[in-house]
Protein backbone atom coordinates (compact mmCIF):
# COMPACT_ATOMS: atom_id res chain seq x y z
CA UNK A 1 0.00 0.00 0.00
CA UNK A 2 1.44 3.35 -0.96
CA UNK A 3 1.10 5.93 1.74
CA UNK A 4 0.54 8.76 -0.63
CA UNK A 5 -2.03 10.79 1.23
CA UNK A 6 -1.72 12.59 4.50
CA UNK A 7 -4.85 10.97 5.90
CA UNK A 8 -4.04 7.41 5.05
CA UNK A 9 -4.51 5.95 8.50
CA UNK A 10 -6.04 8.40 10.94
CA UNK A 11 -7.14 5.55 13.20
CA UNK A 12 -3.58 4.55 13.71
CA UNK A 13 -2.66 8.03 14.86
CA UNK A 14 -5.61 8.45 17.22
CA UNK A 15 -5.02 4.94 18.44
CA UNK A 16 -8.18 4.16 20.35
CA UNK A 17 -11.05 4.36 17.87
CA UNK A 18 -11.33 1.68 15.20
CA UNK A 19 -12.89 3.03 12.01
CA UNK A 20 -16.27 1.61 11.04
CA UNK A 21 -15.56 2.06 7.36
CA UNK A 22 -12.12 1.82 5.89
CA UNK A 23 -11.57 2.47 2.22
CA UNK A 24 -8.15 1.74 0.78
CA UNK A 25 -6.66 2.56 -2.63
CA UNK A 26 -9.92 2.42 -4.55
CA UNK A 27 -9.63 2.63 -8.29
CA UNK A 28 -12.31 2.40 -10.93
CA UNK A 29 -12.06 2.93 -14.66
CA UNK A 30 -14.95 3.26 -17.05
CA UNK A 31 -13.51 2.50 -20.46
CA UNK A 32 -10.54 4.81 -20.66
CA UNK A 33 -11.84 7.21 -18.03
CA UNK A 34 -10.45 6.87 -14.54
CA UNK A 35 -13.35 7.90 -12.27
CA UNK A 36 -11.64 6.98 -9.03
CA UNK A 37 -7.89 6.85 -9.09
CA UNK A 38 -6.56 6.25 -5.62
CA UNK A 39 -9.08 6.94 -2.89
CA UNK A 40 -8.40 6.02 0.74
CA UNK A 41 -10.20 7.26 3.82
CA UNK A 42 -11.74 6.15 7.11
CA UNK A 43 -15.06 6.87 8.72
CA UNK A 44 -15.14 6.67 12.51
CA UNK A 45 -18.22 5.25 14.21
CA UNK A 46 -20.88 7.73 15.31
CA UNK A 47 -19.52 10.57 13.20
CA UNK A 48 -20.75 12.49 10.19
CA UNK A 49 -18.13 12.44 7.49
CA UNK A 50 -18.58 14.46 4.32
CA UNK A 51 -17.11 13.68 0.97
CA UNK A 52 -16.60 16.85 -1.06
CA UNK A 53 -14.94 17.75 -4.30
CA UNK A 54 -15.60 19.38 -7.65
CA UNK A 55 -17.85 17.76 -10.25
CA UNK A 56 -16.24 14.65 -11.67
CA UNK A 57 -14.03 14.17 -8.63
CA UNK A 58 -15.30 10.60 -8.25
CA UNK A 59 -17.46 11.07 -5.15
CA UNK A 60 -20.54 9.26 -6.43
CA UNK A 61 -18.42 6.47 -7.91
CA UNK A 62 -16.71 6.07 -4.54
CA UNK A 63 -20.11 5.88 -2.81
CA UNK A 64 -21.24 3.41 -5.48
CA UNK A 65 -18.23 1.21 -4.77
CA UNK A 66 -18.81 1.37 -1.02
CA UNK A 67 -22.50 0.52 -1.52
CA UNK A 68 -21.59 -2.39 -3.78
CA UNK A 69 -23.37 -1.24 -6.94
CA UNK A 70 -20.05 -0.56 -8.68
CA UNK A 71 -17.15 -3.00 -8.59
CA UNK A 72 -13.75 -1.43 -8.00
CA UNK A 73 -10.96 -2.16 -10.47
CA UNK A 74 -8.64 -2.17 -7.46
CA UNK A 75 -8.72 -1.51 -3.73
CA UNK A 76 -10.65 -2.70 -0.69
CA UNK A 77 -13.66 -1.69 1.37
CA UNK A 78 -13.64 -2.77 5.02
CA UNK A 79 -16.76 -2.37 7.11
CA UNK A 80 -17.01 -3.24 10.81
CA UNK A 81 -13.86 -5.32 10.56
CA UNK A 82 -15.04 -7.29 7.53
CA UNK A 83 -13.81 -7.07 3.95
CA UNK A 84 -16.87 -6.27 1.82
CA UNK A 85 -15.04 -5.75 -1.44
CA UNK A 86 -16.66 -8.53 -3.48
CA UNK A 87 -20.09 -8.51 -1.84
CA UNK A 88 -23.28 -7.49 -3.69
CA UNK A 89 -25.37 -4.56 -2.39
CA UNK A 90 -28.02 -6.69 -0.66
CA UNK A 91 -25.34 -8.47 1.39
CA UNK A 92 -23.92 -5.09 2.48
CA UNK A 93 -27.40 -3.92 3.43
CA UNK A 94 -27.83 -7.03 5.57
CA UNK A 95 -24.64 -6.06 7.41
CA UNK A 96 -26.01 -2.61 8.22
CA UNK A 97 -24.49 -0.54 5.43
CA UNK A 98 -27.28 1.21 3.53
CA UNK A 99 -27.01 3.76 0.74
CA UNK A 100 -29.37 6.33 -0.68
CA UNK A 101 -29.26 7.59 -4.22
CA UNK A 102 -28.51 10.93 -5.84
CA UNK A 103 -31.65 10.71 -7.94
CA UNK A 104 -34.78 9.82 -6.02
CA UNK A 105 -35.21 6.08 -6.07
CA UNK A 106 -38.54 5.57 -4.37
CA UNK A 107 -40.79 2.63 -5.21
CA UNK A 108 -43.26 4.80 -7.15
CA UNK A 109 -46.30 2.54 -7.06
CA UNK A 110 -45.93 1.63 -3.42
CA UNK A 111 -47.34 3.97 -0.79
CA UNK A 112 -44.99 5.87 1.50
CA UNK A 113 -45.76 3.42 4.30
CA UNK A 114 -45.15 0.45 2.02
CA UNK A 115 -41.86 2.00 0.92
CA UNK A 116 -40.79 1.92 4.56
CA UNK A 117 -42.09 -1.60 5.23
CA UNK A 118 -40.37 -2.92 2.12
CA UNK A 119 -37.08 -1.42 3.28
CA UNK A 120 -36.50 -3.68 6.28
CA UNK A 121 -34.11 -6.48 5.34
CA UNK A 122 -34.26 -10.09 6.58
CA UNK A 123 -38.05 -10.29 6.66
CA UNK A 124 -39.59 -13.69 7.36
CA UNK A 125 -42.52 -12.67 5.22
CA UNK A 126 -40.24 -12.30 2.22
CA UNK A 127 -39.18 -15.93 2.33
CA UNK A 128 -40.65 -18.29 -0.23
CA UNK A 129 -42.17 -20.23 2.66
CA UNK A 130 -45.11 -17.80 2.62
CA UNK A 131 -46.53 -20.08 -0.07
CA UNK A 132 -46.98 -22.75 2.59
CA UNK A 133 -47.50 -20.81 5.78
CA UNK A 134 -49.30 -17.70 4.58
CA UNK A 135 -49.96 -14.90 7.01
CA UNK A 136 -48.94 -16.88 10.11
CA UNK A 137 -45.35 -16.46 9.00
CA UNK A 138 -45.30 -12.69 9.00
CA UNK A 139 -48.21 -11.17 10.96
CA UNK A 140 -46.26 -10.40 14.14
CA UNK A 141 -43.21 -9.24 12.26
CA UNK A 142 -45.34 -6.89 10.19
CA UNK A 143 -46.85 -5.38 13.36
CA UNK A 144 -43.37 -4.61 14.65
CA UNK A 145 -42.31 -3.08 11.35
CA UNK A 146 -45.50 -1.02 11.21
CA UNK A 147 -44.72 0.41 14.63
CA UNK A 148 -41.22 1.42 13.56
CA UNK A 149 -42.55 2.86 10.30
CA UNK A 150 -45.17 4.95 12.13
CA UNK A 151 -42.49 6.25 14.50
CA UNK A 152 -40.38 7.40 11.57
CA UNK A 153 -43.36 8.92 9.80
CA UNK A 154 -44.27 10.96 12.87
CA UNK A 155 -40.68 11.97 13.44
CA UNK A 156 -40.17 13.12 9.84
CA UNK A 157 -43.56 14.85 9.71
CA UNK A 158 -44.72 12.54 6.95
CA UNK A 159 -47.48 10.75 8.85
CA UNK A 160 -50.29 12.34 6.86
CA UNK A 161 -48.65 11.28 3.61
CA UNK A 162 -48.41 7.59 4.57
CA UNK A 163 -51.02 6.32 2.09
CA UNK A 164 -49.85 8.46 -0.82
CA UNK A 165 -48.05 6.76 -3.69
CA UNK A 166 -44.37 7.62 -3.38
CA UNK A 167 -44.29 8.52 -7.06
CA UNK A 168 -46.70 11.40 -6.38
CA UNK A 169 -44.55 13.12 -3.74
CA UNK A 170 -42.57 16.32 -4.18
CA UNK A 171 -38.81 16.16 -4.61
CA UNK A 172 -38.14 16.99 -0.98
CA UNK A 173 -40.66 14.49 0.32
CA UNK A 174 -39.02 11.80 -1.81
CA UNK A 175 -35.69 12.58 -0.13
CA UNK A 176 -37.33 12.11 3.25
CA UNK A 177 -38.79 8.76 2.15
CA UNK A 178 -35.32 7.77 1.09
CA UNK A 179 -33.82 8.65 4.47
CA UNK A 180 -36.66 6.98 6.39
CA UNK A 181 -36.28 3.89 4.26
CA UNK A 182 -32.60 3.69 5.08
CA UNK A 183 -33.46 3.93 8.77
CA UNK A 184 -36.00 1.08 8.60
CA UNK A 185 -33.04 -1.24 8.20
CA UNK A 186 -31.60 -0.22 11.60
CA UNK A 187 -28.35 0.60 9.84
CA UNK A 188 -24.93 0.99 11.41
CA UNK A 189 -24.04 3.38 8.63
CA UNK A 190 -25.89 5.28 5.93
CA UNK A 191 -24.31 6.58 2.73
CA UNK A 192 -26.19 9.69 1.64
CA UNK A 193 -25.56 10.87 -1.89
CA UNK A 194 -26.60 14.54 -1.94
CA UNK A 195 -29.61 14.18 0.38
CA UNK A 196 -30.55 17.84 -0.04
CA UNK A 197 -30.26 18.12 -3.81
CA UNK A 198 -33.29 19.86 -5.26
CA UNK A 199 -34.88 20.45 -1.86
CA UNK A 200 -36.19 23.84 -0.76
CA UNK A 201 -34.11 25.62 1.91
CA UNK A 202 -36.59 25.16 4.75
CA UNK A 203 -36.83 21.44 4.26
CA UNK A 204 -33.07 21.25 3.69
CA UNK A 205 -32.57 22.73 7.18
CA UNK A 206 -35.02 20.20 8.58
CA UNK A 207 -33.09 17.37 6.91
CA UNK A 208 -29.90 18.75 8.46
CA UNK A 209 -31.56 18.51 11.84
CA UNK A 210 -32.64 14.94 11.20
CA UNK A 211 -29.12 13.96 10.21
CA UNK A 212 -27.64 15.50 13.37
CA UNK A 213 -30.21 13.57 15.41
CA UNK A 214 -29.27 10.33 13.72
CA UNK A 215 -25.59 10.88 14.43
CA UNK A 216 -26.46 11.64 18.06
CA UNK A 217 -28.19 8.26 18.18
CA UNK A 218 -25.05 6.56 17.00
CA UNK A 219 -25.79 6.09 13.30
CA UNK A 220 -22.65 6.78 11.30
CA UNK A 221 -23.17 8.92 8.21
CA UNK A 222 -21.13 9.41 5.08
CA UNK A 223 -22.44 12.33 3.12
CA UNK A 224 -21.74 13.52 -0.39
CA UNK A 225 -22.62 17.21 -0.41
CA UNK A 226 -21.89 20.29 -2.50
CA UNK A 227 -23.03 23.05 -0.14
CA UNK A 228 -19.95 23.86 1.91
CA UNK A 229 -21.82 25.69 4.68
CA UNK A 230 -24.00 22.60 5.13
CA UNK A 231 -20.86 20.47 5.24
CA UNK A 232 -19.36 22.80 7.81
CA UNK A 233 -22.43 22.69 10.06
CA UNK A 234 -22.82 18.92 9.92
CA UNK A 235 -19.48 17.25 9.59
CA UNK A 236 -17.08 15.96 12.17
CA UNK A 237 -14.65 15.17 9.43
CA UNK A 238 -14.39 16.13 5.75
CA UNK A 239 -12.70 14.16 2.99
CA UNK A 240 -11.75 16.08 -0.15
CA UNK A 241 -11.59 14.33 -3.50
CA UNK A 242 -10.26 15.76 -6.76
CA UNK A 243 -9.64 13.95 -10.02
CA UNK A 244 -10.39 10.60 -8.46
CA UNK A 245 -7.99 10.97 -5.54
CA UNK A 246 -8.51 11.78 -1.90
CA UNK A 247 -6.31 14.79 -1.49
CA UNK A 248 -6.97 15.81 2.09
CA UNK A 249 -9.00 15.18 5.21
CA UNK A 250 -9.81 17.18 8.31
CA UNK A 251 -12.25 19.74 9.63
CA UNK A 252 -13.52 22.47 7.29
CA UNK A 253 -11.39 25.01 9.15
CA UNK A 254 -8.28 22.92 8.60
CA UNK A 255 -9.11 22.36 4.97
CA UNK A 256 -9.47 26.05 4.29
CA UNK A 257 -5.79 26.38 5.29
CA UNK A 258 -4.74 23.57 2.96
CA UNK A 259 -3.38 25.03 -0.25
CA UNK A 260 -3.92 21.96 -2.35
CA UNK A 261 -7.59 21.81 -1.35
CA UNK A 262 -8.10 25.49 -1.98
CA UNK A 263 -6.53 25.15 -5.40
CA UNK A 264 -8.47 22.02 -6.35
CA UNK A 265 -11.83 22.91 -5.03
CA UNK A 266 -12.54 25.90 -2.88
CA UNK A 267 -11.34 28.33 -5.53
CA UNK A 268 -11.78 26.16 -8.60
Amino acid sequence: MTVSTLHDAPAATTGAVVPLLSVRNLRREFGGVVAVDDASFDVLPGTITSLIGPNGAGKSTAVGIIGGGIRPTKGTVQFAGEDLTGLPPYARAERGLIRTFQLSSQFSKLTVLENLLAAAPHQRGEQFRVLVFGKRLWREEQDRLLERAYELLVRFSMFEMRDEYAGNLSGGQKRLVEIMRALMANPKMVLLDEPMAGVNPTLARAIEGYLLDLAAEGVTLLLVEHELDVVERLSDNVVVMAQGRTIATGSMAELRENEEVVRAYLEG
Binding site: F101, E126, L153, D213
Partner: protein, 355 residues
Amino acid sequence: MSHAFQFYATTLLVYLGVDVLSVWSLNLQYGMTGIYNFAWILFQSIGAYTAAVLTLGPSTANTGFQHFILGTSIPFPLPLLIAGAVAGVFSIPIGFVALRRLRADYEATVMLVISVVATLIVSNVQGMFNGTAGLSLIPEPLYTFLHVSTLSYSWLYVLFTAVVCGIVYIFVHRVTSSPLGRAMRAVRDNEAAAESLGKHVTSVRMFAFIFGNVIAGMSGALLVQFIGAWSPGAWFFVETLIILTAIIVGGTGNNGGVILGALLVPIVFNEATRYIPTSFAPAAIVDSVQWCVIGGLALAFLWFRPQGILPERRRRFPVPPEYAAMAAAGRYPPHDERGATGTPPVAVLASETES
Protein backbone atom coordinates in the same frame (compact mmCIF):
# COMPACT_ATOMS: atom_id res chain seq x y z
CA MET B 1 -81.09 -24.11 -22.53
CA SER B 2 -80.46 -26.13 -25.64
CA HIS B 3 -77.70 -28.71 -25.57
CA ALA B 4 -75.78 -26.85 -28.22
CA PHE B 5 -75.81 -23.67 -26.17
CA GLN B 6 -74.77 -25.55 -23.04
CA PHE B 7 -71.80 -27.05 -24.87
CA TYR B 8 -70.90 -23.56 -26.03
CA ALA B 9 -71.31 -22.16 -22.52
CA THR B 10 -69.27 -24.90 -20.85
CA THR B 11 -66.50 -24.48 -23.40
CA LEU B 12 -66.41 -20.74 -22.79
CA LEU B 13 -66.38 -21.25 -19.02
CA VAL B 14 -63.48 -23.69 -19.16
CA TYR B 15 -61.62 -21.28 -21.43
CA LEU B 16 -62.39 -18.48 -18.97
CA GLY B 17 -60.96 -20.55 -16.10
CA VAL B 18 -57.83 -21.31 -18.11
CA ASP B 19 -57.49 -17.64 -19.04
CA VAL B 20 -57.93 -16.58 -15.42
CA LEU B 21 -55.07 -18.87 -14.42
CA SER B 22 -53.10 -17.45 -17.34
CA VAL B 23 -53.54 -13.81 -16.35
CA TRP B 24 -52.68 -14.54 -12.71
CA SER B 25 -49.59 -16.30 -13.89
CA LEU B 26 -48.34 -13.55 -16.19
CA ASN B 27 -49.50 -10.86 -13.75
CA LEU B 28 -47.21 -12.31 -11.07
CA GLN B 29 -44.34 -11.91 -13.51
CA TYR B 30 -45.14 -8.81 -15.54
CA GLY B 31 -47.59 -6.96 -13.30
CA MET B 32 -46.02 -7.59 -9.91
CA THR B 33 -42.33 -8.11 -10.60
CA GLY B 34 -41.77 -6.35 -13.93
CA ILE B 35 -40.54 -9.44 -15.78
CA TYR B 36 -41.12 -9.20 -19.52
CA ASN B 37 -41.99 -12.85 -20.07
CA PHE B 38 -42.74 -12.83 -23.79
CA ALA B 39 -42.16 -16.58 -23.72
CA TRP B 40 -45.15 -17.07 -21.43
CA ILE B 41 -47.10 -19.18 -23.93
CA LEU B 42 -44.14 -21.60 -24.05
CA PHE B 43 -44.72 -22.49 -20.41
CA GLN B 44 -48.44 -23.03 -20.89
CA SER B 45 -47.44 -25.24 -23.79
CA ILE B 46 -44.91 -27.21 -21.77
CA GLY B 47 -47.75 -27.97 -19.35
CA ALA B 48 -50.10 -28.95 -22.16
CA TYR B 49 -47.61 -31.29 -23.85
CA THR B 50 -46.61 -32.80 -20.51
CA ALA B 51 -50.21 -33.57 -19.57
CA ALA B 52 -50.80 -34.94 -23.09
CA VAL B 53 -47.91 -37.40 -23.16
CA LEU B 54 -48.64 -38.46 -19.58
CA THR B 55 -52.21 -39.46 -20.44
CA LEU B 56 -52.09 -40.56 -24.11
CA GLY B 57 -50.64 -44.00 -23.44
CA PRO B 58 -47.94 -45.51 -25.67
CA SER B 59 -47.50 -43.84 -29.05
CA THR B 60 -48.17 -47.18 -30.76
CA ALA B 61 -51.83 -46.93 -29.72
CA ASN B 62 -54.44 -45.79 -32.27
CA THR B 63 -52.50 -47.47 -35.06
CA GLY B 64 -49.52 -45.34 -34.16
CA PHE B 65 -50.58 -42.39 -36.31
CA GLN B 66 -48.86 -39.93 -34.03
CA HIS B 67 -45.34 -40.05 -32.65
CA PHE B 68 -44.38 -38.66 -29.29
CA ILE B 69 -42.06 -39.22 -26.37
CA LEU B 70 -42.88 -40.91 -23.05
CA GLY B 71 -46.47 -42.08 -23.61
CA THR B 72 -47.91 -43.19 -20.29
CA SER B 73 -51.32 -43.23 -18.66
CA ILE B 74 -50.89 -41.62 -15.28
CA PRO B 75 -54.05 -41.32 -13.16
CA PHE B 76 -55.87 -38.04 -12.58
CA PRO B 77 -54.97 -35.48 -11.16
CA LEU B 78 -51.24 -36.26 -11.36
CA PRO B 79 -50.80 -35.08 -14.98
CA LEU B 80 -52.05 -31.63 -13.98
CA LEU B 81 -49.62 -31.37 -11.07
CA ILE B 82 -46.67 -32.83 -12.97
CA ALA B 83 -47.39 -30.42 -15.86
CA GLY B 84 -47.00 -27.50 -13.45
CA ALA B 85 -43.81 -29.00 -12.02
CA VAL B 86 -42.26 -29.58 -15.44
CA ALA B 87 -43.04 -26.00 -16.51
CA GLY B 88 -41.39 -24.89 -13.26
CA VAL B 89 -38.28 -26.98 -13.93
CA PHE B 90 -37.94 -25.57 -17.46
CA SER B 91 -38.16 -22.07 -15.99
CA ILE B 92 -34.90 -22.52 -14.14
CA PRO B 93 -32.44 -22.65 -17.08
CA ILE B 94 -34.49 -20.14 -19.10
CA GLY B 95 -34.69 -17.80 -16.13
CA PHE B 96 -31.00 -18.21 -15.55
CA VAL B 97 -30.26 -17.04 -19.08
CA ALA B 98 -32.87 -14.30 -19.37
CA LEU B 99 -33.32 -12.92 -15.85
CA ARG B 100 -30.00 -12.94 -14.10
CA ARG B 101 -28.20 -10.23 -16.02
CA LEU B 102 -30.61 -8.91 -18.63
CA ARG B 103 -33.23 -6.28 -18.04
CA ALA B 104 -36.33 -4.89 -19.71
CA ASP B 105 -35.93 -4.73 -23.50
CA TYR B 106 -33.05 -7.22 -23.67
CA GLU B 107 -34.93 -9.60 -21.43
CA ALA B 108 -38.07 -9.26 -23.57
CA THR B 109 -36.07 -9.94 -26.74
CA VAL B 110 -34.45 -13.06 -25.31
CA MET B 111 -37.85 -14.36 -24.18
CA LEU B 112 -39.34 -13.75 -27.60
CA VAL B 113 -36.46 -15.55 -29.29
CA ILE B 114 -36.76 -18.50 -26.91
CA SER B 115 -40.47 -18.72 -27.67
CA VAL B 116 -39.91 -18.74 -31.44
CA VAL B 117 -37.03 -21.21 -31.24
CA ALA B 118 -39.11 -23.58 -29.11
CA THR B 119 -41.96 -23.55 -31.65
CA LEU B 120 -39.50 -24.33 -34.44
CA ILE B 121 -37.92 -27.20 -32.52
CA VAL B 122 -41.25 -28.81 -31.62
CA SER B 123 -42.53 -28.37 -35.20
CA ASN B 124 -39.46 -29.94 -36.75
CA VAL B 125 -38.57 -32.74 -34.36
CA GLN B 126 -41.28 -35.09 -35.49
CA GLY B 127 -40.83 -37.72 -32.79
CA MET B 128 -41.16 -35.35 -29.84
CA PHE B 129 -44.77 -34.11 -29.98
CA ASN B 130 -45.79 -35.23 -33.47
CA GLY B 131 -44.40 -32.15 -35.24
CA THR B 132 -46.68 -29.54 -36.81
CA ALA B 133 -49.67 -31.89 -36.82
CA GLY B 134 -49.54 -31.91 -33.06
CA LEU B 135 -51.12 -34.31 -30.60
CA SER B 136 -54.79 -35.27 -30.63
CA LEU B 137 -57.16 -37.75 -28.96
CA ILE B 138 -55.79 -36.67 -25.57
CA PRO B 139 -58.15 -38.38 -23.13
CA GLU B 140 -60.40 -36.39 -20.82
CA PRO B 141 -59.62 -37.17 -17.19
CA LEU B 142 -61.96 -39.69 -15.49
CA TYR B 143 -64.34 -39.64 -18.46
CA THR B 144 -64.64 -43.42 -18.74
CA PHE B 145 -64.74 -43.75 -14.96
CA LEU B 146 -67.59 -41.30 -14.34
CA HIS B 147 -70.23 -42.80 -16.67
CA VAL B 148 -71.99 -39.52 -17.32
CA SER B 149 -73.28 -37.91 -20.52
CA THR B 150 -70.90 -35.77 -22.52
CA LEU B 151 -72.81 -32.66 -21.47
CA SER B 152 -72.78 -33.53 -17.77
CA TYR B 153 -69.08 -34.24 -18.07
CA SER B 154 -68.56 -30.79 -19.55
CA TRP B 155 -70.31 -29.20 -16.59
CA LEU B 156 -68.24 -31.32 -14.21
CA TYR B 157 -65.11 -30.08 -16.00
CA VAL B 158 -66.29 -26.51 -15.51
CA LEU B 159 -66.62 -27.27 -11.81
CA PHE B 160 -63.19 -28.88 -11.72
CA THR B 161 -61.69 -25.84 -13.47
CA ALA B 162 -63.32 -23.58 -10.90
CA VAL B 163 -61.89 -25.65 -8.05
CA VAL B 164 -58.39 -25.49 -9.57
CA CYS B 165 -58.76 -21.70 -9.95
CA GLY B 166 -59.86 -21.44 -6.32
CA ILE B 167 -56.92 -23.45 -5.02
CA VAL B 168 -54.41 -21.59 -7.19
CA TYR B 169 -55.86 -18.27 -6.01
CA ILE B 170 -55.14 -19.18 -2.38
CA PHE B 171 -51.45 -19.51 -3.23
CA VAL B 172 -51.38 -16.46 -5.49
CA HIS B 173 -53.03 -14.40 -2.77
CA ARG B 174 -50.61 -15.70 -0.12
CA VAL B 175 -47.75 -14.35 -2.19
CA THR B 176 -49.19 -11.08 -3.46
CA SER B 177 -50.59 -10.01 -0.07
CA SER B 178 -47.38 -10.87 1.77
CA PRO B 179 -44.15 -8.96 2.33
CA LEU B 180 -42.75 -11.13 -0.47
CA GLY B 181 -45.33 -9.62 -2.83
CA ARG B 182 -44.29 -6.18 -1.61
CA ALA B 183 -40.65 -7.03 -2.30
CA MET B 184 -41.66 -8.14 -5.80
CA ARG B 185 -43.35 -4.79 -6.42
CA ALA B 186 -40.35 -2.96 -4.97
CA VAL B 187 -38.06 -4.83 -7.38
CA ARG B 188 -40.44 -3.89 -10.20
CA ASP B 189 -40.41 -0.19 -9.28
CA ASN B 190 -36.69 0.23 -8.63
CA GLU B 191 -34.32 -2.65 -8.78
CA ALA B 192 -31.16 -0.83 -7.66
CA ALA B 193 -32.90 0.64 -4.61
CA ALA B 194 -34.42 -2.72 -3.68
CA GLU B 195 -31.03 -4.37 -3.86
CA SER B 196 -29.40 -1.63 -1.80
CA LEU B 197 -32.06 -2.23 0.86
CA GLY B 198 -31.15 -5.88 1.19
CA LYS B 199 -33.48 -7.56 -1.32
CA HIS B 200 -31.95 -10.40 -3.28
CA VAL B 201 -33.28 -9.16 -6.61
CA THR B 202 -32.38 -12.20 -8.72
CA SER B 203 -33.99 -14.61 -6.24
CA VAL B 204 -37.18 -12.55 -6.09
CA ARG B 205 -37.38 -12.39 -9.88
CA MET B 206 -36.63 -16.10 -10.25
CA PHE B 207 -39.31 -16.93 -7.70
CA ALA B 208 -41.95 -14.92 -9.54
CA PHE B 209 -40.84 -16.43 -12.85
CA ILE B 210 -40.96 -20.03 -11.63
CA PHE B 211 -44.17 -19.66 -9.61
CA GLY B 212 -45.93 -17.94 -12.51
CA ASN B 213 -44.76 -20.58 -14.96
CA VAL B 214 -45.97 -23.42 -12.72
CA ILE B 215 -49.43 -21.87 -12.92
CA ALA B 216 -49.03 -21.41 -16.68
CA GLY B 217 -48.14 -25.10 -17.02
CA MET B 218 -51.20 -26.12 -15.02
CA SER B 219 -53.42 -23.91 -17.15
CA GLY B 220 -52.08 -25.65 -20.25
CA ALA B 221 -52.76 -29.09 -18.77
CA LEU B 222 -56.27 -28.06 -17.80
CA LEU B 223 -56.98 -26.81 -21.31
CA VAL B 224 -55.43 -29.69 -23.25
CA GLN B 225 -57.34 -32.30 -21.26
CA PHE B 226 -60.58 -30.54 -22.14
CA ILE B 227 -60.03 -29.81 -25.83
CA GLY B 228 -58.07 -33.02 -26.45
CA ALA B 229 -55.52 -31.62 -28.91
CA TRP B 230 -52.42 -29.43 -28.95
CA SER B 231 -50.15 -28.38 -31.80
CA PRO B 232 -47.53 -25.67 -32.48
CA GLY B 233 -50.28 -23.54 -34.04
CA ALA B 234 -51.85 -23.21 -30.58
CA TRP B 235 -48.86 -21.54 -29.04
CA PHE B 236 -47.29 -19.29 -31.62
CA PHE B 237 -45.46 -16.53 -29.74
CA VAL B 238 -48.13 -13.89 -30.41
CA GLU B 239 -50.56 -15.83 -28.18
CA THR B 240 -48.66 -14.38 -25.21
CA LEU B 241 -49.84 -10.94 -26.32
CA ILE B 242 -53.49 -11.89 -25.78
CA ILE B 243 -52.81 -12.63 -22.13
CA LEU B 244 -50.61 -9.53 -21.81
CA THR B 245 -53.40 -7.40 -23.33
CA ALA B 246 -55.89 -8.95 -20.91
CA ILE B 247 -53.67 -7.85 -18.02
CA ILE B 248 -53.19 -4.33 -19.40
CA VAL B 249 -56.94 -3.93 -19.98
CA GLY B 250 -58.04 -5.46 -16.68
CA GLY B 251 -55.50 -3.71 -14.46
CA THR B 252 -51.80 -4.51 -14.20
CA GLY B 253 -50.91 -5.68 -10.72
CA ASN B 254 -54.50 -6.30 -9.61
CA ASN B 255 -55.48 -9.97 -9.24
CA GLY B 256 -59.18 -9.08 -9.47
CA GLY B 257 -58.72 -6.64 -12.32
CA VAL B 258 -56.94 -9.16 -14.49
CA ILE B 259 -59.91 -11.55 -14.11
CA LEU B 260 -62.01 -8.85 -15.75
CA GLY B 261 -59.33 -8.62 -18.43
CA ALA B 262 -59.46 -12.39 -18.93
CA LEU B 263 -63.22 -12.12 -19.38
CA LEU B 264 -63.10 -9.12 -21.72
CA VAL B 265 -60.15 -9.78 -23.98
CA PRO B 266 -59.86 -13.49 -24.83
CA ILE B 267 -63.54 -14.27 -24.22
CA VAL B 268 -65.77 -11.30 -25.10
CA PHE B 269 -63.70 -9.65 -27.82
CA ASN B 270 -62.51 -12.87 -29.39
CA GLU B 271 -66.01 -14.34 -29.35
CA ALA B 272 -67.61 -11.14 -30.59
CA THR B 273 -65.50 -11.16 -33.74
CA ARG B 274 -66.88 -14.64 -34.44
CA TYR B 275 -70.28 -13.06 -35.04
CA ILE B 276 -69.12 -10.73 -37.78
CA PRO B 277 -71.40 -11.81 -40.67
CA THR B 278 -69.45 -13.75 -43.29
CA SER B 279 -71.18 -11.72 -46.00
CA PHE B 280 -69.47 -8.71 -44.45
CA ALA B 281 -66.08 -10.31 -43.98
CA PRO B 282 -64.80 -13.69 -45.14
CA ALA B 283 -63.80 -16.14 -42.41
CA ALA B 284 -60.09 -15.73 -43.10
CA ILE B 285 -60.35 -12.02 -42.43
CA VAL B 286 -62.15 -12.54 -39.12
CA ASP B 287 -59.05 -14.17 -37.71
CA SER B 288 -57.00 -11.14 -38.71
CA VAL B 289 -59.62 -8.83 -37.25
CA GLN B 290 -59.18 -10.57 -33.90
CA TRP B 291 -55.51 -9.67 -33.89
CA CYS B 292 -56.27 -6.08 -34.90
CA VAL B 293 -58.74 -5.83 -32.03
CA ILE B 294 -56.25 -7.25 -29.52
CA GLY B 295 -53.44 -4.97 -30.70
CA GLY B 296 -55.73 -1.93 -30.84
CA LEU B 297 -57.00 -2.60 -27.32
CA ALA B 298 -53.51 -2.87 -25.89
CA LEU B 299 -52.47 0.37 -27.58
CA ALA B 300 -55.60 2.24 -26.57
CA PHE B 301 -55.23 1.27 -22.93
CA LEU B 302 -51.50 2.00 -22.81
CA TRP B 303 -52.21 5.48 -24.21
CA PHE B 304 -55.34 6.46 -22.37
CA ARG B 305 -55.61 4.29 -19.28
CA PRO B 306 -52.31 2.55 -18.55
CA GLN B 307 -53.48 1.49 -15.09
CA GLY B 308 -56.30 -0.60 -16.63
CA ILE B 309 -60.00 -0.75 -15.75
CA LEU B 310 -59.37 -1.81 -12.15
CA PRO B 311 -56.02 -0.26 -11.14
CA GLU B 312 -53.58 -1.82 -8.70
CA ARG B 313 -55.08 -1.68 -5.23
CA ARG B 314 -53.65 0.85 -2.77
CA ARG B 315 -52.66 -1.07 0.35
CA ARG B 316 -53.67 0.61 3.60
CA PHE B 317 -52.74 -0.45 7.10
CA PRO B 318 -54.43 0.01 10.48
CA VAL B 319 -53.23 3.12 12.33
CA PRO B 320 -52.75 2.97 16.11
CA PRO B 321 -54.52 6.05 17.55
CA GLU B 322 -51.49 7.10 19.61
CA TYR B 323 -49.47 7.76 16.47
CA ALA B 324 -52.25 9.76 14.88
CA ALA B 325 -52.38 11.86 18.07
CA MET B 326 -48.61 12.32 18.12
CA ALA B 327 -48.58 13.33 14.50
CA ALA B 328 -51.30 15.89 15.15
CA ALA B 329 -49.34 17.30 18.08
CA GLY B 330 -46.05 17.29 16.15
CA ARG B 331 -44.34 15.24 18.83
CA TYR B 332 -41.80 12.46 18.55
CA PRO B 333 -42.70 8.98 19.73
CA PRO B 334 -42.54 8.73 23.53
CA HIS B 335 -39.45 6.57 23.90
CA ASP B 336 -37.47 8.96 21.80
CA GLU B 337 -35.62 11.00 24.41
CA ARG B 338 -33.07 12.86 22.36
CA GLY B 339 -32.59 16.57 22.41
CA ALA B 340 -34.77 18.74 20.29
CA THR B 341 -31.96 19.81 17.97
CA GLY B 342 -33.61 18.35 14.98
CA THR B 343 -37.25 18.90 15.79
CA PRO B 344 -38.68 20.13 12.55
CA PRO B 345 -41.62 22.46 12.23
CA VAL B 346 -44.59 20.29 11.31
CA ALA B 347 -45.53 22.96 8.85
CA VAL B 348 -42.41 22.42 6.79
CA LEU B 349 -43.92 19.76 4.63
CA ALA B 350 -47.30 21.38 4.44
CA SER B 351 -45.69 24.54 3.14
CA GLU B 352 -43.49 22.76 0.68
CA THR B 353 -44.61 23.24 -2.85
CA GLU B 354 -44.36 20.63 -5.56
CA SER B 355 -40.86 20.63 -6.97
